[in-house]
Symmetry: C2
Subunit: 314 residues, 2 copies
Amino acid sequence: MKILIGLDIGGTNTELAWVDLFGNILKKINYKTVQFSKAEQLVSVVGKAILEGNKNFISDEIIGLGIGAPNGNYYKGTIEFAPNLGWEGIIPLSQMFEDRIQLTTKLTNDANAAAYAEMLYGGAKKMSNFLVVTLGTGLGSGIVVNKQMLYGSTGFAGELGHTIVENNGRLCGCGRKGCLETYASATGIIKTIHQFLESSKQESSLRAIEKIESKDIYIAAQNGDECALKAIQYTGNILGKQLADYVALYSPEAIFIAGGLANAHSLLIPATKNAMEENMLKIFKNTVELFPSELLDQNAGLLGAAAMMMKRNN
Amino acid sequence: MKILIGLDIGGTNTELAWVDLFGNILKKINYKTVQFSKAEQLVSVVGKAILEGNKNFISDEIIGLGIGAPNGNYYKGTIEFAPNLGWEGIIPLSQMFEDRIQLTTKLTNDANAAAYAEMLYGGAKKMSNFLVVTLGTGLGSGIVVNKQMLYGSTGFAGELGHTIVENNGRLCGCGRKGCLETYASATGIIKTIHQFLESSKQESSLRAIEKIESKDIYIAAQNGDECALKAIQYTGNILGKQLADYVALYSPEAIFIAGGLANAHSLLIPATKNAMEENMLKIFKNTVELFPSELLDQNAGLLGAAAMMMKRNN
């Protein structure tokens, strides 16, 4: 039995797991990321755990270690300027792990990991061309073309969240204006609901909440709150319209919506699909499926980091 | 010596050529497309010419026939609803030629052919990820990812010309509004100059021309005509801004500008490059070269149709 090791480094939690080719997690260890104030500490603690854990498996069946991390660069195996992790500069994390554990190690960013997960364990198993959009604090995307992850010439390709949907629109964290992620993300929909609440006097259960989170909006919408429903519709409209442009470029078989905000999929996906079809170039109409990720309630980042070790990338 | 046969079917001219692997045209025949009122006639006349012409070459060195044509579908080998050719319905042109000449035949659209040409004979010989934008009557694009032409799930991927640059902008021939090609194309720049001339009283040599063509604008600009210069700047601004979004998705090494309007490259490319860099996400700044096609004055469509026979696509 082949074994993959996955390591998912997040702003809050870091998870390590041994996974089989069917996506079963055979052994898992959880860490708080904050305990690793330097990358060296993480490599030391997690590296030791890997060497210990490997004793449970026949070593020549362990294919390698896949790491998913914010600002991860696949080509260089580095984490570059990741403010969420509190680590400075450019860190050659793959190399550090290879030196420590003597196993092939690859690294990619969170959204690409989600796409690897969908490809090996989720709804994209038989697909050659698809997109995974992760709606979290921001909007990430993993693009698969001809069964290969798209990294482009820099290793940073796939920044759908930073394509412009509105000239001179909302200010984005990247310093530019009108990026898709300022509308279609947890942060974006919270901004939208505040705009709606401030610009109207419509009753809403959300007015009673001091600090509205995206899941409050989803819960209110499920209970029929008009403002919340309108915010989801608005988000889906903008996302769907931009996905129509995406389709004109890539013509994928399917688009998967993942990440925290995707839990609102029963409302968000129909709104997005309608806007996408309405804005689509004729030759692409009804050629693209829009699905919630099949791994929504699972460890997609962790599974994807592991899955990367099974995939040809270039 | 390996020989490729290329057939470039255009709205006005159709060209047939035998080409070597260095892009030398060994023999060429020209037709007026209008003489082929049906596809069957074209297959009959051109097919006969191919069988005759092949006698000049050792037959087992002839690799096959590549066809470039508007509305060509690579997967199906069909031309679908091509109003420019006056042929109706879906025509299985590849199959018709294979039956006639007993040689492997592939078919693609004009913009993809231009990208094959750049890849085999032009500036993209050593590149894995690049884009060719053809600025003609419309805006076509050929996208190469990991050395493969991007066709997507339908065979129609790469419609950069039909991504939206201005919500509710200019009406496009596709029925939607604000498509890039309504601004960045020969048709687009002519619309732009008319807007400029009508909305101002600025002197311009173009006012004396009854029916302004894109090359008139370029010539006027070279002679220092302010209106013409402004129109090229405006076109470059919009094209460059959209290319910045394209880069965020694909991260190519280079973008090549081809087609008739590209002859204005000494003015158009700097304007486009400035706008692209200015609007680019930080991690991509200064990672992408912008070049005029290396095959500008050559038979890029014809060479590209031939070149397609040398390239792996999926």
